[in-house]
Amino acid sequence: MSDLAQTLSWIADETSLVTELQAGSDVAFDWLVTYYHVSVYNVIYGILSDRADAADVTQEVFLKAFRGIHAFRRGSSLKTWLYRIAVRESLNHRRWWHRHCCNEISLDAPLRDEQPAPEIQDSNATPFEQLAARETQQAVHQALAQIPDVYRSAVILRDLEGLSYEETAEVLETSVATVKTRILRGRRALKELLEPVLRVHSAMRPERPSVNQSNSNNAPSHPLGPYGAVLFTGGRGGWQ
């Protein structure tokens, strides 16, 4: 079978990918890295808020995945398994960092701040929109850095990476009820911290319908409410 055909079958069928990985296929591991390294990096960066550390931990995560693929249970999701390693490694790294180097000041720190923000640029956006998006991104990451670890990882997985509650609970190795509580508290904390950004955001989007309008249209017959299906399902996970 050619590599391309194999790759296409892996997208549809994770079981064959896992079989190949457990057999030690280099092509399968390459595909795994290519397909997942960006989202894994983003989860870790959200937790650690440091690009260099996030890159190091991402490396560690894939190395652990490479070594531990034989212990992977058939039938569970490869994505949640990778995310689980990522979250665990990030929290370990954070704990280790607090213990060892929290009083150290990195010589690289000023240089890192001078680097242009390397996020993906939308080529259709105007410079103003790009700047606004970059500022929003920075503000969100700064706010995320200020909320407690347990809430942060839950919010990142659910709202930024777009996992379902069940998947988030699987990644965090806890119950769905706990995850819901953590996400509620995380969002509450984020709303407080991002108050100024949200105000600007509402000013920039006057065309967005308000809750009042929706209510007056008797729209919220959907159990999720007026925006449920739209608003909190916009996670960007898994893009390539």
């Binding site: 490396q59 996020e119 909190f232």
Partner: protein, 229 residues
Amino acid sequence: MTCREVGRHLAGYLDGAMSAERHAVVHAHLSDCLSCREDLEAYGRLAHVLADVAPVRPPDDLATRIRVQASHAQMHLDGPSRVWTRISVVFDNILRPLAVPATGGLLTAAFAFVFLVQSLIVGIPMGNIPNDLPTDLVQPARLESLAPFPIPGILPGRGGSSVLTVEATLNAQGEVADYKILAGPNTAAIRHQIDQLLIFSRFQPEMSFGQPTAGGTVVISFSEIRVQG
């Protein structure tokens, strides 16, 4: 349900992070309470903001670094076979540069043995092979056939020596250049007969490195056989 209680659950109102009953209660409260609706709107904006956050681009070489590290890990995972691999690599590294000189040396030694030893010890019989041509570098001259007319009365009668020994010296063409009588009668009649005999006999000249050379000698001896009765 008070505004405070509703406020605690609003964050989950939008994506169903609450039970259906509680959702209905909150929904009923929202239709009456403006401040809670504003709160909900803020959560809606938060959801938009979070959904719009662009993913952070990892370092360009991250995927390559991961692959390199994984291939290093693969080497360590191989375990005991790694030791054998390393030993065989070291062995190869030592032997490979020696392979050509060693083979060359052996072949040269064999060549030297076969050719030098054979030319040093000339004339060792190599076994009884019929029609064998000696491969010596210098082959002595020899007689191929003697002329058929012999020579009744070549030898003197009774009372004389009955043996005649002649040494003939050949040129490069295998012809007799000169001869001398080593033993036996040396008379003009006999010399005449010997002249005729040697002229019509055929000789193989002396061969040196495959080339006929002059100066080879052949010793021929004649004896008389007498049949009584």
